[in-house]
Symmetry: C2
Subunit: 324 residues, 2 copies
């Protein structure tokens, strides 16, 4: 069994090899840039952890796990163009550091690189590996499409929001676990259970992101607190607030959303006060806990030893306690 | 054996099914838009023709062939964003009809759709089919990268240009033929020969495009003659002209390239006169013929009956005679 820190180091070393680099290097440099800036490596970690539930020779799944990380970074690359984001993990986004064309084309090259990595598996798993990856990749696209459409709508419900973040974020975590279990030779009901576990974990993960944007500690979270509020992002917090608010409170929320000229701190403080008053924090806690519990329940039903389960259980707990 | 027209109709009917459509439809509508506007369907035709060299049950390779057409349209979708092209086959490009974000994301969805289609094959061919497709897809990306880099360079040689169009255009035609032959169970040396045949044919195809832009008939070519000249595109014609020109002629070419304010017809006429004088047309004829002959020679060496070869030979000949 490998600890989470050992797995992270193994992933780092594999990524540092930059085996995907080819001529023209200019096409791959933005991919290196994206991958060298750290990130949590959550997805390849989940692939390795799932594989490690059943088998110890994790080097067999490593290249494939790296493929999922590269795929994730490809989606970030294109998403940053679509959102015209300036910064990613504290550094200039690719389309700001280079330009939009570079971000589009190097993103495309990253996607193909991901497909090349994913196929590193035994022949008997290849069709399912590719099938599953196609499904996950398409779901992520669909999630991004809904996300962009929701920006133009004012009536997005909580259910719609959960569906969107499920596709955009949770499915890739789910697929990462399923991929690891599949390649370890786990039976179908087991890798499907891990997919469900990852889906619940992914929802908890994204909802916690929404929560931390409002109630996180700036020194730990690493982003400015209230960034979503300033940008009028329709997060769980905002959608829940609108659901709970009475007419006058809704008007105050609208006032802040529509105001073009405002002091950022003042806006964040005002909206946070409304969240406080409506108890949005407690709703967020409750729904995050619900999904974390779901993932723990699925874990208990897996047909693996208690010792092996403990690692994934710790991982789920650490997600529940994360501050960044 | 199927005639070229029969194959085109079969491809049309398969595309018309729009089997790739899923919710949210907004994500797939731009793909439908791209695919419904016709085009030559050259790539799926080549896949079916190659398959048909060895086998008659072409319905087995149809979905996969459609995948190559969808992949081709995905590259056009993103290329049009990168070139900020306004029109494609006489209609607004996707990023002009919708917007850039739609073109990026629907392009991404098209790429994944292509991967989903490509895997429609027997298990025994799957790994090679995916491997080959990854290689082709990456080569197309590399070709586009070189193309964009060449735009900023003034010293692109003929060899570099041929290498670029080989990657950007010829490799996909080559891969289309190889894919059909692979899935038909052709031996390795045969599908590799068809790959080489397609590479030569693809070069001839692109070089003829360059030629027709200058010397084509506007009513047949369907684009304005001289479009490349107006846009200062570094085509074979322009690169060859610079190679052949003496110092004063180069200066005239530079004059037209650098002139910001010009009458389009006057510029096209002036540059075409230089091409005429330098004999660029004859060089273009010679190199197109060279590559067409290469593809014919490879065809002769294939281990298939004369009757079956005849169809591909006609196809090569029709490429040599094409006016649009």
């Amino acid at each position: 069994m490998y600890t989470v820190n050992e797995l992270r180091e193994i992933i780092k070393q594999e990524l540092d090899k930059k085996e995907y680099m080819q001529e023209p290097y200019s096409l791959f440099e933005p991919i290196v840039y994206m991958l060298e800036d750290g990130g949590k490596r959550l997805r390849p970690m989940l692939t390795l952890i799932a594989y490690n539930l059943y088998r110890d020779d994790i080097e067999k799944v490593l290249k494939s796990a790296i493929g999922i990380e590269i795929f994730h970074n490809y989606t970030l690359l294109h998403d940053d163009v679509m959102d015209d984001a300036e910064l990613r993990r504290g550094r200039l986004t690719v389309h700001r550091k280079w330009n939009t064309n570079v971000a589009i084309l190097s993103g495309d090259a990253a996607a193909i690189t991901a497909y090349k990595c994913i196929e590193h598996c035994e022949d008997k798993y290849l069709r399912r590996a590719i099938d599953f990856f196609n499904q996950v990749a398409m779901d992520v696209c669909k999630g991004q499409q809904y996300d962009m459409e929701f920006e133009k709508r004012e009536d997005v419900t909580e259910d719609e929001y959960i569906h969107m973040i499920y596709l955009k974020t949770a499915v890739l975590l789910a697929g990462s676990l399923r991929h690891g279990a599949l390649l370890a030779g786990a039976p179908e009901h087991e890798y499907n259970a891990l997919y469900d576990l990852g889906g619940a974990l992914g929802l908890a993960f994204q909802l916690q992101d929404d929560y931390l944007d409002v109630y996180g500690d700036v020194t730990e979270f690493g982003k400015n607190i209230g960034g979503d509020i300033v940008a009028n992002k329709k997060t769980y917090m905002m959608i829940k607030a609108f659901e709970l608010a009475d007419a006058p409170t809704k008007e105050v929320l609208w006032h802040w959303i529509e105001k073009k000229d405002f002091d950022k701190d003042e806006k964040v403080a005002a909206v946070t006060r409304i969240y406080d008053r409506l108890g949005v924090k407690e709703y967020a806690f409750a729904i995050i806990d619900k999904y974390l519990d779901q993932s723990r329940e699925i874990l208990e039903r897996l047909d693996v030893s208690e010792e092996r389960k403990a690692y994934l259980r710790d991982f789920i707990d650490s997600m529940g306690n994360r501050k960044k």
